[in-house]
């Protein structure tokens, strides 16, 4: 498949994630949108890892494998982030009885 298709798909998913972050007030949904954005990037990385594969496979059988490893690391970091993030949201809920990010306006002070 032409690489452009993958790029457009990823960009579209990423921007949907951005729009979700911007429009929703529920902290958990915002968090999920961030995961969506991460996955859009992952998809793009995997697509890129296969982009030059044909030309380089003769000399280097592992050409492009770095991209897939980066996806692996992103998943690792995302998992860590989710665990901490959800802990924070849980604490927020415990203090405010809401997951509305507008209650997080303490940054003003």
């Amino acid at each position: 498949m032409p690489i452009n298709y993958y790029i457009f798909l990823s960009v579209a998913l990423f921007c949907i994630g951005v729009a979700g972050v911007l429009t929703r007030r529920n902290a958990i949904i915002v968090f999920m949108c961030i995961e969506l954005m991460l996955n859009a990037v992952n998809l793009l990385l995997v697509a890129f890892s296969k982009m030059h594969h044909l030309a380089l496979a003769a000399t280097d059988p592992n050409a492009g494998i770095n991209g897939q490893l980066f996806v692996f690391f992103i998943m690792v970091v995302a998992a860590a982030e989710v665990s901490v993030g959800l802990a924070i949201i849980a604490m927020l809920y415990r203090n405010t009885h809401s997951v509305d990010i507008n209650f997080l306006n303490r940054l003003k002070h």
Partner: protein, 166 residues
């Protein structure tokens, strides 16, 4: 229109639709479920690209562990459509316009990029196999791998500290 192409278009359409549903669903639980659908479609794309290991890890880690965690938290808080806070109309509009503008800019930028004739190979290559990945991971990326384990440990400690009652 071979099978790969059919699958590609089907998965892409489903991914976009599900992603939109994630954003617009009133009920957080529905959002989670739609997000799981997105992850499945992305895993499907991975398989099309012969990245089998990542496809499986994606399903296990994301669709399995992380989304269950989300669901667990949502249900713990007893969130549903009624308790869902709503932003005002103008802010929503601004958000959509912001995201749309970003999309527009990125797509416009890609027009100049030299990617028109590049092809992502589907169904060929074995770099996605766990054997090859594992060799590279434990040879060249062993230090980042070990550091990420420390990251996990600290994240776990952090989550416990934050989540603990005073």
């Amino acid at each position: 229109m071979n099978l790969t192409q059919i699958l590609f278009w089907f998965l892409s359409a489903l991914a976009l639709f599900s992603a939109i549903m994630v954003v617009i669903s009133k009920n957080p639980v529905h959002s989670v479920l739609w997000l799981i659908v997105v992850f499945f479609t992305i895993s499907g794309h991975y398989i099309l690209l012969n990245a089998q290991f990542l496809a499986i890890v994606n399903l296990i880690v994301y669709a399995g562990a992380i989304m269950v965690l989300f669901l667990f938290v949502i249900m713990l808080m007893n969130l549903n459509a009624e308790t869902e806070p709503q932003k005002n109309k103008w802010l929503k509009m601004a958000g959509v316009i912001g995201g749309g503008a970003l999309l527009l800019v990125l797509v416009a930028a890609l027009k100049d990029a030299d990617t028109r004739n590049q092809i992502a190979q589907t169904g060929v290559g074995d770099i996605g196999l766990i054997h090859n990945l594992g060799l590279v991971l434990f040879k060249e990326y062993v230090i980042p791998f070990e550091i990420s384990s420390v990251l996990f440990l600290s994240a776990m400690v952090g989550a416990v500290v934050i989540g603990k009652k005073e």
